[in-house]
Amino acid sequence: MIEQLPILNLVLLLTTALMIPFTQKISFKTTKLVGFTVLLTVLVSTLFILLHVQSEGAFYYHLGGYPSTIGIEFYVSILSAFFTLFVIALGTLIYVYSTRDIEHDVYAQDYGRYYTLLFILLFSMLGIVYTNDLFNTYVFMEILSITTCSIISIKRSKKNYTAAFRYLMLNEVGSLSYLFGVALIYMVTGYLNIDLAAESIQQVWHLYPANIVIALGFMIIGVSIKAAIFPFHIWLPDAHSTAPSASSALLSSIVVKVYIIIMIKVLLRLIGIDILEALNIPVFLTIIAASGMLIGSIFALGQKDLKRMLGYSSIAQIGYIVLGISLMSSLGLTAALFHIVSHGMMKAALFLSAGAFIFLRNQRAINGFNGLGYQMPISMAVFSIAGLGMIGIPGTSGFISKFNLGVAILDANQWFLLVILIMSGVLNAMYYLPIMINAFLKDNPEKNRVMQFEKLPKVMLVPIVVLGLMIVLVGLFPNSIMSYIEAAVAMLLA
């Protein structure tokens, strides 16, 4: 029965997305309730899948019972099981938050559409993580990019349209590049299944190196655009800053990470470390990641809008993840996967609390944060915790990922990357600390200086607080998720 759960999850999410136009006709409240129940169900089932995979090992699922040579195959390994859990857990929190926040950002007639999009988004992300088929990945990727785009432009404001259009254009170029790569791989191997293709690539690598190399280049660049890896980050700040707050959290903390999962699959499972190292790809990735870590932060430093700043900060943090991957060692991958989780939590907390400031105070400009900590102590506290995590203060999950990354870097004997890591930490501090300091320690002449009780609606406050607690808990007890990540890395490098 557990083997059926992945597909049932997908079906459930898709069905919910389709049913929402009908439940919306009953009432908005019903919609919210239905959506929440579905997400909880999916959460529980992903948890079961994870436990099952942990005890029984990875399993394959063949859609339609066709063999993996021609059919679509799901590969539920500990990596996919863990990351679906991560996606759904964060998605649930953001969903709960969005049930109130949506009133601020989206017109009333679009509520139903928003949730339809949200569920399709989750559906396609789950699909990407589960699937073991290159073309199927492409299809899910396209569904994801269209839904992402719609969820950006649903706000119906000027900037959203241009941001969504730019996102769509660049992402389409990226998808087509990816598809081109898939075509080239299919051309020489005859398989679309990742495992079979990988085996075949090892055999035909000497026969058709040009094909595989071009495919690799196309696929890496295609996925990099979607994952906003440094020189292709161009669409991200606009898209993430203009989207409704809940969607920004979703985009920055999960969607981008899912593309990185694709990248890991392509690099490590399809092509394999040997070929990558023969082609010096790790060096490329290292350079890209290191420059992304610095330039993302420098751009973030110059921003005036909070959400835009967070967007640029995401670019820098994606640099960390790519850096971990580029080391091509088990320590580096562990650090990268851990940072995916920890950055997901921190960025979600940051975006959600930023959304709270916008919701309650309409406060977007960074220089207007004086005294905000007195009015919204809880969300500002969570913002601070997440910001400290970004800097890498011990006690938050950010420290653990930074420490692991540092260990991995030195293990690979590249000390200059450690310098860049630390410089990036200082830069992070330069744009996160002033906000916290202004909010908590500076007075605002117009506003009351006495600490107030938070007036944020409960449904918005709870996810923020849960995320803050999760950051601290994962920071204090990293082993709780580290064991899964280590198992996943062992699987990837096997």
Partner: protein, 127 residues
């Protein structure tokens, strides 16, 4: 002569690549949004053409069960099937981006990217 032969044999791949590059060129050089969408479509066509031509078998038949004679050399139907999906995707993206262009035209009064960027610049400086 060898080279020419090679080119003729691989003309479909070269054509596909040419289409891809033409599409990319359109996307890069044109600031008109509609033209960019057209460029994306051309790129997509190139990729699909490439994909479909992979499945070609010289002397193969369409993959339809032929009851009369036992000629079993079929071309690979899988790429065609996949490309059907790809076409659907590109169609939907085209439609979606066109509707976005309609909206952009309503709000900015132009579909030229440079002019839109100028308007946005103006607005950010006014902030």
């Amino acid at each position: 002569m060898e080279v020419l032969k090679q080119i003729i044999e691989n003309i479909n791949y070269i054509g596909a690549l040419a289409l891809f590059v033409i599409g990319l060129y359109t996307v890069v050089t044109h600031s008109n949004l509609i033209k960019r969408i057209i460029g994306i479509n051309i790129m997509g066509t190139g990729v699909f053409y490439f994909f479909v031509s992979i499945g070609n078998v010289v002397g193969g038949n369409p993959p339809i069960v032929d009851l009369d004679n036992g000629n079993l050399i079929y071309i690979n139907p899988l790429p065609s099937g996949l490309i059907l999906t790809g076409i659907v995707v590109v169609v939907s993206i085209t439609v979606y981006s066109l509707s976005l262009v309609v909206r952009i035209y309503e709000t900015y009064g132009t579909i030229d990217q440079d002019e839109i960027a100028k308007i946005i610049d103006q607005e950010t400086f006014d902030d």
